[in-house]
């Protein structure tokens, strides 16, 4: 493998000159530059990342902490990972995938060893130990999703506005003519442990109910898809059943749909189902009207925040620039393509 010294010898200059040609940080005569660049091409020279990092203490690597509890994997995480990698490349950064179930240990190692300049933490939950560990270590991070607990206000984060998202779904259903709308919210344990997105979703449903005057029946979902499906069946068995169903908890959705279908419920004529927070392009679900996550934009934003935080540290360690920690809440939109079907017997107005 060619080194900078080889390039220097072949082009008859000093190694430092080669470095200046490549970095452009000092003026070099056109003639010399030409010789050097030719030698670089002939030798297929690539600077060693390790030498560069050792000298400059900047790695141009962004660590990405993917949540990994008990071997579970959510499709949305993979999608975000790829999008964040794309966004990082635009800034000249590579992405290091961290899937350690003990996220704190992996992050500490990466931060301590200088493998990465900053980290994006995915799926942060209230009081997440990873956030504390990283801020304590003074390592630049940005959070993706669910981050608005008290100790997280000093750290930049990006999230979907879940309240607005659920409210939008309910309003759109109402606009399609539905007067009785069911809302399958987050799982019980997410509500009782007061996860931000769970509470926000509930608030959004209430708000939209007030605004539209539609009747909105709320049911908590469950970790067990069978239980969730049972709750939906219950709703439909009521005397005046809902004609639309807004779903925030996506995990049991396939089974809910399957059971409804098996139970003879015609979709969407008898029940218009509107999931909230799905991945665009490939949900694996039959096509439904839905509220999509703006994955690309959120990924670009959180990457930008993480890299900005990384830049803010090195120079003199002074105040982290004046822009301070930044937060970004994304407005939901309805996915284009499939409109919400009107109820079969609309309660006309």
């Amino acid at each position: 493998m060619a080194t900078i010294k080889d390039v220097a010898e072949r082009s008859g200059v000093a190694p430092s000159t080669v470095s200046y040609v490549l970095s452009g940080s000092r003026k070099i005569s056109d003639e010399t530059r030409g010789r050097v660049l030719e030698a670089v091409r002939e030798l297929g020279y690539h600077p060693r990342a390790s030498a560069r990092t050792l000298r400059s203490s900047r790695s141009s690597v962004l660590a990405l902490a993917v949540p990994r509890e008990a071997g579970k994997y959510r499709a949305v995480d993979g999608r975000f990972a790829v999008e964040i990698s794309d966004a990082a490349r635009v800034h000249g950064f590579d992405v290091l995938l961290m899937t350690d179930p003990d996220g704190v240990r992996g992050l500490r190692r990466v931060a301590g060893s200088g493998l990465a300049d900053a980290a994006v933490l995915m799926a942060v939950e209230e009081g997440d130990p990873r956030v504390r560990a990283m801020t304590a270590a003074g390592f630049p991070v940005a959070l993706l999703g669910h981050g608005d607990a008290r100790d997280e206000t000093e750290v930049p984060w990006v999230d979907l506005d879940w309240e607005a998202a659920v409210a939008l779904a309910v309003r759109e259903a109402a606009a399609a003519g539905h007067r009785h709308i069911a809302f399958l919210s987050s799982a019980e344990h997410e509500i009782t442990s007061r996860r931000g997105y769970a509470l926000h979703g509930l608030a959004g449903a209430r708000r939209a109910a007030r605004q539209t005057g539609a009747e909105v029946t709320v049911r908590a979902s469950s970790e067990d898809p069978g239980v969730a499906a049972a709750r939906v069946r219950e709703l439909l068995a009521a005397e005046r059943p809902p004609t639309a169903l807004v779903v925030q908890h996506l995990i049991p959705l396939p089974q809910v749909l399957a059971e409804l279908s098996a139970g003879g419920v015609r979709l969407p004529e008898e029940l218009a189902v509107v999931p909230v927070g799905t991945i665009p392009d490939e949900s694996g679900l039959p096509e439904l009207p839905r509220i999509d996550l703006p994955v690309s934009r959120m990924a670009a934003a959180v990457t930008g925040l993480a890299l900005a935080a990384a830049e803010a540290l090195p120079p003199s360690g002074g105040e982290p620039a004046e822009s301070g920690p930044r937060h970004e809440l994304f407005e939901p939109r309805m996915a284009a393509g499939v409109p919400i079907a009107p109820p079969r017997t609309p309660n006309a107005h």
Copy 2:
């Protein structure tokens, strides 16, 4: 940030001694070792990855080339990425995510700069330029999936045995009593460009037809989900329609199911659908009998092959060990849980 020198000073030894304590590559008295380890703990010392890599020219990083054509993203890729990261961690390796649409450029950069010691290439296609580029550069790689073209026989790879997988699906359907089975194979363009998995799938269907004596009707799928769905409708409109449908091309599956359902076809009573090659745990589809990809085992295998290839190079550059390039074809199994429903009016035997 503490360096090895700080640790040495605090424990009253030379830096080299600290290094020997940490690496264990020379014997150090228990007393000295104790003092050093204490200093390490007190200072929270982590070796700089860059310095270590510079000196040893081993980075303990595995590059992972994720296919990324035209912004498309397949859920299965994310799943493999996470599993490969898990497998790499077991060997003390981190994973660098490469999502460059021009895979060759990104890989060249990583190989040339010494950012990684080896690479796993996902979704390799016949005559993939990435494979040529990496073997030309002498960079150790292992391939995941679809790799059995001629120039790829020298490179280790791992794949699902698609012929066996489709054959298994057909045999299981036949065993459930189905005598007329449809097979929705890969998309036309995959067949005409002779992709390995496409041809193998077709061969598997033919083989199972011979073995079971069942009638197997083959239809190519299409990139356009609407076209694929139309072909399935056509099949069902035949005089003697199939009672089971084996599907290799998963992309249009949601729409196919939706249209069947909308068209009044009762699943699985009128048509038992069996997808091949889905992701376990979270397909996003309603629960169907299916042939799953053994993602974890394939990820572990391909990771092992890539790291073995990396080890084989450094020492003297001699013959790449005696084990040579290795290939591993995985046997499919039916996912547990959902059996294939028998036909409504079984052609009893």
